[in-house]
Amino acid sequence: MSPTQKIFAGLVVAALAVPFVPGLIYPIFVMKVMCYGLFACAFNLLLGFTGLVSFAHAAFLGTAGYVTGALMIRFGAHPLGVPAAFAAGVAAAALVGFAIGGLAIRRRGIYFAMITLALSQIVYFLAVQFRWTGGEDGLQGIPRGSLLGLDLSSDTVMYYVALALFCAGFLFVERVVHSPFGQILQAVRDNEARATSLGYDAGRFQLLAFVLSAAVAGYAGALKALVFGLVSLNDVSLHTSTEVVLMTLLGGVGTLLGPLVGAALVVGLQNYLATIGDLVTVVIGLIFIVCVSFFRRGLVGEVLHWRRRRAERARPLPAREQPVVAKVA
């Protein structure tokens, strides 16, 4: 087991215990952290491991939420309602991801972010215009239905199902990062020209990563819709796209656990600061500035860096090679 997996297993054990210790942490809060944590992991798959910055991720979270929610409202009572609605939500997010990514990938560098931002505005506009998304009201009162005979309307059952889905999502992202596919993505991120010269079609891999990231973001959005029973315009707004950038940056870009830590901090901060209203934006902006200016590695990244430095210092000096003495006969 790698250190990351050990720490993750520890977190999961702690999360398993949460419903047994009432009053310490609200399970609802933990579920919110899990949803946003997955969302940030999806974003990090793109920013951290592919080197592309997207301002459209709320569009994927929201699309999946709307599709899952709308299907649950209509077919939620069906025994297969939950998996079907979930799958449809993820597929819709992947499709929107393919459309946005396919267009954005046509331009490089600085334009990429601007294109994703502009295209996500179209998704927002459609969410306002369509009738099935509920327009300004969004979708409310989405039933949780049941999964494999388990009634999800109980908060405790929902909690454990959400935890299981969260673990599956996180382990999937971890698997992708360490797979040959993930290695190619990182090679493209580090040096696109070199990866191309080795025969990899950089654009194709970037688009695949984009669609995959959109699908995982959709997975988080579908889970969020199911847990909280509502989807609003805020879920497809630029504001949410910004938050996920902040979570990833704060936790550590390109680390596996960083997005989870960042999501927990930002969600906690929002709960804690809910009373100060408009100043939350100021605080979030200041965190952005501090992160970018002073610790670009993020919290988890700093810890990893510190450990690596310590390991390097502790290692004995490389054994000196025996000087080659010309043998004189």
Partner: protein, 301 residues
């Protein structure tokens, strides 16, 4: 076409033209900043908003604050002071924060300017709320003027003329003067330019200030037309980004022409299918990317 629909048509076209003027001024500022600093200034919208707010504060708030209700900073003074203040603020940010990021991936500059925009917008929201504030245009520009085929508010004609003049002056400055030659040289090869004895760091700061000042002028001009709110810049900037993607950041003239053109198209959409007018620019951007991935004016950055 009957007379009344022609009137409505022309009126919407004028609204579109004015929108286009703001797009042109803002995207020119973005292009200028990108050229030399190699960052996308996400603070542009907030700086636009800040200038509009400063003008409004000057007209309605400063007097009561100082206990002299008659004291007002009028429109003309604000047109100079507000952009200057916003530019000074921007240059302070450039000197203290942005400068430290030039050697890194442009992603960090983008995120930093984004954070600054959040702080500014949140701050103004906290101080003044989200409801729109009205701003009266100066007396000399109130009332209608006959432009031959229809009556238009004087102020709107003034905005179109003023912004076109500013755009042309900027173009002249950058493409036809010695200073402009230095700036373009700085875009191509800053180290070589520095070797010729030009203080490039100072030039970069001043260029940033100039680009921001353009946003500031646009903000003050917009104050009597749009509602002055903390959110006025952010939504406008989203559209300006699409404009910039279509026109490219490579040329000042390109930014100007695309901005004006898209404003007009947006005005036309308001006549034909009003609901879509908020997204028509984004849709055009998507189409342009399909047809001409490198942008209408070529040159990939």
């Amino acid at each position: 076409m009957s007379d009344i629909t022609l009137q409505a048509f022309m009126a919407q076209l004028t609204v579109g033209l004015i929108g286009g003027c703001f797009y042109a001024m803002l995207s020119m500022g973005l292009a200028i900043i990108f050229g030399l600093l190699n960052i996308i200034n996400f603070t542009h919208g907030a700086q636009f908003m800040m200038a509009a707010f400063l003008a409004w504060i000057g007209l309605t708030q400063v007097g009561p604050w100082l206990g002299q209700p008659d004291l007002q900073v009028n429109f003309w003074l604000a047109l100079v002071l507000a952009p200057a203040l916003v530019a000074a603020f921007g240059m302070a940010i450039e000197r203290t924060l942005l400068r430290r990021l030039y050697h890194l991936d442009h992603l960090y500059g983008l995120l930093l300017t984004f954070g600054v925009a959040l702080v500014m917008e949140g701050g103004f929201r906290y101080a003044f709320g989200v409801s729109g504030q009205g701003y009266e245009p100066p007396e000399i520009l109130q009332g209608p003027v006959d432009v031959g085929f229809m009556l238009l508010p004087k102020y709107r004609v003034f905005v179109v003329v003023a912004s076109l003049l500013i755009c042309l002056a900027t173009w002249y400055l950058f493409e036809r003067t010695k200073l402009g030659a230095y700036l373009r040289a700085g875009t191509e090869n800053p180290r070589l330019l520095q070797a010729f004895g030009i203080n490039v760091p100072v030039m970069i700061t001043l260029t940033y200030g100039f680009g921001v000042a353009l946003a500031g002028i646009a903000g003050v001009l917009a104050a009597p037309i749009m509602q002055v709110t903390p959110l006025m810049g952010g939504s406008l900037l989203n559209i300006v980004f699409a404009v910039v993607v279509i026109g490219g950041l490579g040329s000042i003239l390109g930014a100007m022409v695309t901005g004006l053109g898209l404003g007009l198209i947006e005005g036309l959409t308001k006549v034909i299918y009003p609901e879509a007018s908020t997204v028509v620019v984004f849709v055009i951007m998507a189409l342009a990317l399909l047809v001409r991935p490198a942008g209408l004016f070529g040159r990939e950055a």
